[in-house]
């Protein structure tokens, strides 16, 4: 049986002063998954997250979280009661101490995990009496993560949780997220432009470009279905158009024609044989290549 959807958007649009930040985004995040939301800077990741949490209103389309309309102010409060959020800027109250920030947040969440709070304070080495304004970016991120994880939230929405952190802290943060999900059965939706970290912890991926989802699915399925077909010809490679479904991109360079397919290689290889290439090479494709070909190649 398919897992219920925790996040679902349909043809979601958001325009700011006539500029489309989100442009017909349709995505689904099933319960229990760790979904990496991958995109270049300015692709619409943060705007999408704000739309999901009711911080911005959609221009048109629909966003649902836990089956509730994110744009409805009352439903949005119910959504936020079950959601832990870490913003891109690690936006916290600079005038509070770490302990005050925790004391302030805990009462909003009746199922606040004091045991986790104590554990993360210790393992993240967070100084309870330090003012937040004096914390390093790494420390701020850890505190923001603690505040999100201890809510016993069903959904964690993390906007670029590792941006600006050194590799050691990135590893610490990613491990904390994975360990938490394993223990608490939460769903994670995290945005990033770091392909490596998405590959490391995500089991699903949504790639967004110019406000639209251009790749979406389980990471294993993407790895299985995406193929690179390289055709080498005796002379100049022909300028050919493939009828096979799933062709993402065709590149012609001298004697070599490279085809990226999102639906396997069989149909493309079959078509290509008619052109008499001297060699046909089919290779697996990593997330980085999928991302670069679908997103970076567009620009």
């Amino acid at each position: 049986m398919a897992e219920p959807l925790i996040i679902e958007t349909r043809d979601l649009h958001k325009r700011y002063d006539g500029v489309a930040a989100v442009d017909g985004l349709t995505l689904q995040v099933p319960a229990g998954s760790i979904c990496g939301f991958l995109g270049r800077n300015g692709a619409g990741k943060t705007t999408t997250i704000k739309l999901l949490l009711g911080m911005a209103r959609p221009t048109s389309g629909e966003a649902r979280v836990f089956g509730l309309q994110a744009a409805d102010p009352t439903a949005s409060v119910a959504i936020r009661r079950r959601t832990g959020f870490v913003s891109d800027e690690k936006d916290l109250y600079d005038y509070m101490t770490v302990a005050e920030m925790i004391r302030f947040t805990a009462p909003f969440f009746p199922h606040w995990r004091a045991d986790l709070e104590a554990r993360y304070l210790r393992s993240f080495d967070l100084p309870a009496d330090r003012k937040i304004s004096t914390l390093s970016r790494g420390m701020r991120t850890k505190l923001a993560l603690l505040l999100a994880l201890c809510r016993r939230a069903d959904l964690l929405v993390l906007d670029e949780p590792t941006s600006g952190l050194d590799p050691a802290v990135i590893e610490e943060v990613l491990q904390a997220i994975v360990a938490h999900v394993a223990g608490e059965q939460a769903t994670v939706f995290f945005s990033s432009h770091q392909i490596g970290e998405v590959e490391q912890i995500a089991d699903r991926v949504v790639v967004i470009d110019r406000g639209r989802a251009v790749v979406t699915g389980a990471l294993d399925d993407l790895r299985d279905s995406y193929r690179r077909v390289q055709l080498v010809f005796e002379g100049e490679a022909p300028d050919m158009t493939f009828r096979a479904p799933g062709v993402v991109r065709v590149r012609r360079q001298g004697r070599v024609l490279t085809v990226l397919s999102s639906l396997g290689a069989e149909a493309i290889v079959g078509e290509a044989r008619a052109m008499n290439p001297i060699s046909i090479d089919v290779g697996a494709v990593g997330l980085k290549e999928i991302f670069l070909e679908t997103v970076a190649g567009e620009h």
């Binding site: 911080m55 209103r57 936020r80 959020f85």
Partner: protein
């Protein structure tokens, strides 16, 4: 807890306001003997000119301790200082905190924007009530130090009128803080507006009892015409209207 946050965000403005107003109240009371000496000196003033007329009016008020306190404290110093702190307490809020000030964290909490706004307004209004009543009530407490007495009830009435009527300045700043993202424009606009109203009233020589500033100082009550009920209700209605508009404004904002 949201009240605690609102308190932390406003406490220095509130506490500095309280300290300044209480010190000013004590200073005004203690200056009374010197004012009496000046009164005798100034009796020779030419009262024909406009400036002379105003000086004469003030001198007449200084003739009694009640008149001195109302004129020097409630009508001038307290009104100006209190208005300044009311405007200062109206600034800030979600929009001003959008850039690294914690607005996104606040908005991620399970609280409606209306409730957030209501809590911030309620906290600031409670602080303004203290800023109006405590310095007003300091006058009867300090008066024996200069051999005088002052009615607690009168001080309470002046403090209450200051709070109710002056809250319009707070509410307008509060509303403008849901329009502008910086913390400077809302207080500047409101202070300029208050100054403009005062200038127009001065230029037109209209009845000060009918103006916002006249209601703030309960001039009709001082002159024995009773409380300015109409002005107080009008100010209250205006404040509620500004707060409602602020709530509507923040509800439709994108962050």
């Amino acid at each position: 807890m949201p009240f605690y946050k609102a308190w932390l965000e406003t406490r220095w403005r509130f506490l500095s306001g309280l300290a300044v107003l209480v010190c000013a109240a004590v200073a005004i009371v203690l200056a009374y003997p010197r004012a009496v000496a000046v009164l005798q000196e100034a009796a020779r003033f030419d009262r024909a000119s406009e400036l002379g007329r105003q000086i004469a009016e003030n001198l007449d008020l200084l003739g009694s301790y009640q008149g001195y306190v109302w004129s020097q404290w409630f009508r001038q110093t307290m009104r100006q200082l209190w208005a300044l702190f009311a405007v200062m307490l109206g600034t800030g809020g979600l929009l001003a905190q959008t850039s690294g000030g914690g607005a996104l964290y606040t908005l991620s909490l399970p609280l409606s924007r209306t409730r957030l706004l209501g809590i911030r307004a309620a906290t600031a209004l409670a602080e303004l009530a203290v800023l109006a009543l405590v310095p007003a009530l300091v006058v009867p407490l300090a008066s024996p130090a200069v051999g005088q007495s002052y009615s607690v009830a009168d001080a309470f009435v002046y403090g209450l009128c200051m709070f109710v009527a002056g809250s319009t300045l707070f509410s307008l700043t509060f509303l403008l803080s849901t329009v502008f993202t910086d913390i400077w424009r809302p207080p500047l606009i409101v202070l300029c507006l208050a100054g403009f109203i005062a200038l127009v009233r001065e230029a037109l020589q209209g009845p000060s009892t009918a103006s916002l500033l006249g209601v703030m100082t309960a001039e009709s009550y001082f002159r024995g015409h009773g409380l300015p009920w109409l002005g107080l209700f009008a100010a209250l209605a205006l404040s509620l209207l500004f707060l409602y508009a602020a709530a509507r404004n923040i509800a439709r904002q994108d962050f």
